[in-house]
């Protein structure tokens, strides 16, 4: 489903963010990518989202070369990928409901679909009672759950969670990981980048370890090896 072939990314100032990275991820997998800050995890995510272009090699998603996707087709690609970030990236002037609904609106879903799916998905992340709250009225864990609801509401093929638990306490971290696991159990591929040893070990799924822009380990039943 996802292929990185000998991908490198060197920034104009000479910083090597990624060097000769090759990996493949199958449909339905749950892959954790671990590494210190600056190891290249976020670069990997950015290349997959088409936010950045690789300096060498190619990145493909469902046999589509991402660097060759035209600007006007980018939104279509992004609607097939749900993204979750450490800093949540919700729209501050929209309620939890509207934030989730926005993802459906841009995908051209009907009002009826939105009215039935959004409450359902918010219930799935246990936020039914706060769906009309604005982001500023929600805690970190709740914000991340809204972000997850937004990411999964369009039934994407892939969820990318970039350090989703970085700003959360252990209880919320555990809950978020459980939700991601549930999403994965329903068949969605999940890529999780994290620093959190506990999370990775509890998952017991595939772990890719990165260091200085290179993939140093790739274990099917991985442990946190840093």
């Amino acid at each position: 489903m996802i292929y990185f072939e000998n991908v490198s990314k060197i920034y104009p100032d000479g910083t090597i963010a990624l060097e000769g990275a090759t990996l493949s991820i199958k449909q339905g997998e749950f892959v954790s990518i671990v590494g210190h800050s600056g190891a290249g995890k976020t670069t990997l995510v950015k290349l997959l989202l088409g936010e950045d272009q690789p300096t060498g090699g190619s990145v493909s998603f469902d046999s589509v070369d991402i660097q060759n996707v035209r600007a006007k087709d980018m939104p279509d690609l992004r609607r097939r990928i749900g993204v979750i970030f450490q800093d949540f990236r919700l729209l501050p002037n929209k309620t939890a409901y509207e934030n989730v609904a926005f993802a459906m609106e841009v995908a051209g879903k009907s009002d009826e679909e939105i009215a039935s799916d959004v409450p359902h998905v918010l219930e799935l992340v246990d936020l039914s009672k706060k769906m009309w709250n604005f982001p500023r009225q929600l805690s970190g864990g709740e914000l991340q759950r809204v972000a997850i609801a937004r990411a999964i509401v369009n039934h994407p093929d892939l969820i990318i969670a970039d350090e989703p638990t970085g700003n959360l306490d252990p209880v919320n971290t555990y809950e978020i990981v459980q939700i991601l696991k549930k999403v994965n159990d329903m068949g969605t591929t999940v890529i999780l980048t994290t620093h959190n040893r506990g999370v990775v070990e509890a998952l017991g799924k595939r772990v890719i370890t990165m260091d200085h822009g290179k993939i140093t380990r790739d274990d099917m039943m991985g442990k946190y090896a840093l």
């Binding site: 989202l49 939104p75 992004r78 990236r89 729209l91 002037n93 993802a103 609106e105 369009n154």
Partner: protein
């Protein structure tokens, strides 16, 4: 589908305008200033226009005719002058009317009235008052009257005096003044409109700069450029609309207050009356300027954040 998208974009623009109330309020107030400048320019142009027209109307040349001139000769001369393309109109003031006007003007001056009575006969001559279409054309008309070429000697023989040369300097000065004021008016208009556009564009650019992270999020979620840009353009139009209404409301007391001040001027007009009489026209100019400025500024300002992939 298109209709649903448009409906969502408009709704989203309205909600955003309402929820970002502090940003909206600042943008609206700055736009009020910009639109106020455009409105003032319209009023200033009207004020100058009426003043100049009035001044222009004061300029004319008088052809004084012999006391012995016959009515038929005078009317013949009048119609000959009227055939000139530069002439706007010719007014014939008979000796009797001239006398009546003179008496009316000096009704409080007993000496003059007494002197007139002593003379007995009407000492005034008939006058043809000529107004040109353009102040610059008086010279041509005067030389025509002096040249005698086209008018038969018979027709011109009744002319005793043409007052153009006496007033030549004043007429030239006035023509130059009118031309100068017109030019100044155009320059002021251009500058005011230019400043308004700059102020509005920069304000909206700042408002959208504040929302740049949101634009990034919308892109990540898969929003197309049009879908992201739409609500901002709607918001821009709303800024313009609300600002226009406020500006128009603000103009009423202002013109009321200026009413007496502007009327004092020579040939001045009642600005309040002008504002009320031309309200529909002003309404459309201000509303259209406001909404167009808002929409175009938003469109351009968002574009900056939508150019990358």
């Amino acid at each position: 589908m298109l209709w649903i998208t448009i409906k969502r974009i408009i709704k989203s623009g309205f909600i955003s305008f309402w929820r970002n109330s502090s940003v909206s309020l600042s943008a609206v107030f700055v736009m009020v200033v910009a639109l106020f400048m455009i409105g003032s320019t319209i009023l200033l142009t009207a004020f100058l226009g009426t003043g100049l027209k009035d001044l222009q109307d004061k300029i004319d040349i008088n052809v004084y005719l012999d006391a012995t001139a016959q009515e038929a000769q005078i009317l013949d001369l009048k119609s000959k002058i009227e055939t000139l393309s530069e002439v706007k109109n010719v007014t014939y003031v008979t000796r009797d009317i001239a006398l009546e006007t003179f008496k009316a003007r000096h009704i409080d001056n007993h000496r003059i009235i007494q002197a007139l009575d002593e003379v007995g006969d009407n000492p005034l001559t008939a006058v043809l008052t000529i107004k040109a279409k353009d102040p610059a054309q008086y010279e041509g008309i005067a030389s025509f009257l002096g040249g005698k070429a086209e008018i038969s000697p018979d027709a011109l023989s009744i002319v005793s005096k043409v007052n153009y040369n006496d007033n030549k300097v004043a007429i030239d000065r006035l023509s130059k003044l009118i031309e100068g004021v017109r030019k100044l008016g155009s320059i002021i208009t251009a500058v005011m409109v230019g400043i308004s556009i700059l102020i509005t564009f920069n304000t909206i650019r700042l408002a959208i700069f504040i929302a740049r992270d949101e634009i990034g999020v919308m892109r990540l979620v898969g929003g197309s450029n049009q879908y992201i840009r739409g609500p901002f353009v709607v918001e821009g139009i709303l800024y313009g609309f609300v600002a226009s209404i406020l500006t128009l409301i603000f103009f009423y007391p202002l013109t009321y207050w200026l009413k007496s001040a502007t009327q004092v001027f020579y040939g001045g007009i009642d600005l309040l009356h002008y504002f009320v009489a031309n309200f529909v026209q002003m309404f459309f100019i201000i509303i259209f300027s406001g909404m167009a400025l808002g929409a175009v500024s938003s469109y351009l300002a968002v574009r900056k954040y939508l150019t990358a992939r």
